[in-house]
Symmetry: C2
Subunit: 222 residues, 2 copies
């Protein structure tokens, strides 16, 4: 096993994060690297979804992951064990990443000349939704056991996301989870959001999600 790179992110001093996020998008466009910001509550299955996607990414694109966490390197170790390029970024207690913090992570992956970089954001439905990290696509995961009331309670996350992945559908029978409630609550906030149902565990629905992401990357890279 390779040694995990852990970087301690520095809080950025920039006042205008939105402008910096636009600048980061230009920097990434020059390298032809697509950038996805993956957000969810703790335990929704961000890391396992990425691991499941790798089956369809492998051989098609070169990709890597910035694992952002308050502490520990468990997610970067998991990805590394699955053969996925990753760097662990610690936020020093902060519950989000802004564009400059994302840039600090991206810099660690510079040598790989990647087609896709994924930021696995801090597990949190509040702060990460408030900051543009410079990503081309914002994807949020809601897992079935969390319940169908999350869009009502954390509306901003669903307003700002381009893609909603509903994970752990293999557990649907064990939980009261009303798909139509989620869909109507989410569409009321964000009519254009793309919704995918998957189980990162069983692999159900992952191929469709992977195909959508690969299309987006193809479009972007022209």
């Amino acid at each position: 096993m390779e040694k995990i790179t852990i970087i301690e992110l520095k809080e950025s001093i920039l006042k205008d994060n939105d402008a910096d996020a636009d600048k980061l998008r230009l920097e990434l466009k020059e390298k032809n690297t697509y950038f996805i910001n993956v957000m969810s509550a703790p335990g929704s299955g961000k890391t396992s979804t990425l691991t499941a996607l790798d089956k369809y990414f492998k051989g098609r694109i070169k990709w890597g992951v910035i694992e952002a966490d308050i502490d520990s390197d468990v997610d970067a170790v998991a990805l590394n064990n699955a053969g996925i390029i990753s760097v662990q970024a610690h936020t020093g207690g902060m519950c989000h990443l802004d564009a400059d913090m994302a840039r600090q992570g991206i810099r660690q992956l510079d040598g790989y000349e990647l087609d896709l970089i994924v930021l696995e954001n801090i597990g949190n439905l509040v702060c990460p939704a408030e900051f543009d990290t410079g990503a081309n696509l914002k994807l949020t995961i809601l897992s079935v056991p969390e319940g169908d009331d999350k869009p009502a309670k954390y509306p901003l996350m669903y307003e700002v996301s381009d893609v909603l992945v509903i994970n752990k559908v293999d557990a649907l029978a064990a939980f009261d989870f009303d798909k139509s409630r989620v869909e109507s609550d989410v569409r009321a906030l964000n009519p254009d959001i793309k919704i995918f149902y998957i189980s990162a565990k069983t692999g159900e629905g992952v191929e469709e999600l992977a195909a959508y992401i690969l299309d987006k990357i193809r479009e972007y890279r022209g």
Copy 2:
């Protein structure tokens, strides 16, 4: 159904939250009201745990709940439907409550002369851990589907909590969740934490948790 009271919390201007939290504890002691801060990730089952506890609280204590959320009143409606006194507090996007914000919620329940007030904090494993709300007891819930790596990734929450409730144990068979890993990670952060395994859904373990809380209240009220 009663109309749900919704209050918009004002950000407090106090610099020294710790001192204000101590002051709030004194104010509550004068009223002989015990105060519990319940924290967890979104969807761990805070509201359903409180609803399950009510079966054992009813007839023994008078209690009420401050439901803190970014938006919506779904949790206060759920408690109200279950016959539990509750007030919905909105934080205006903030991901935590401090002592003065807790006081604003407590004030809404003043007329009831309660033995116990529970603050159901924002669903978040980061910010709420950083603020003393003036509570006598801090209880955090971790649900089985979230995974056994949460203490490693969000250590402060487990360091500051007096009680860890592991919820949704009825779903243990469907998820890889290593109890001994959680216990050893948590005990390394906080050797004195009390750990309870429950299912708010089936009722398993709820009586023991209720008995523990009722004992604490008895001790406090002398």
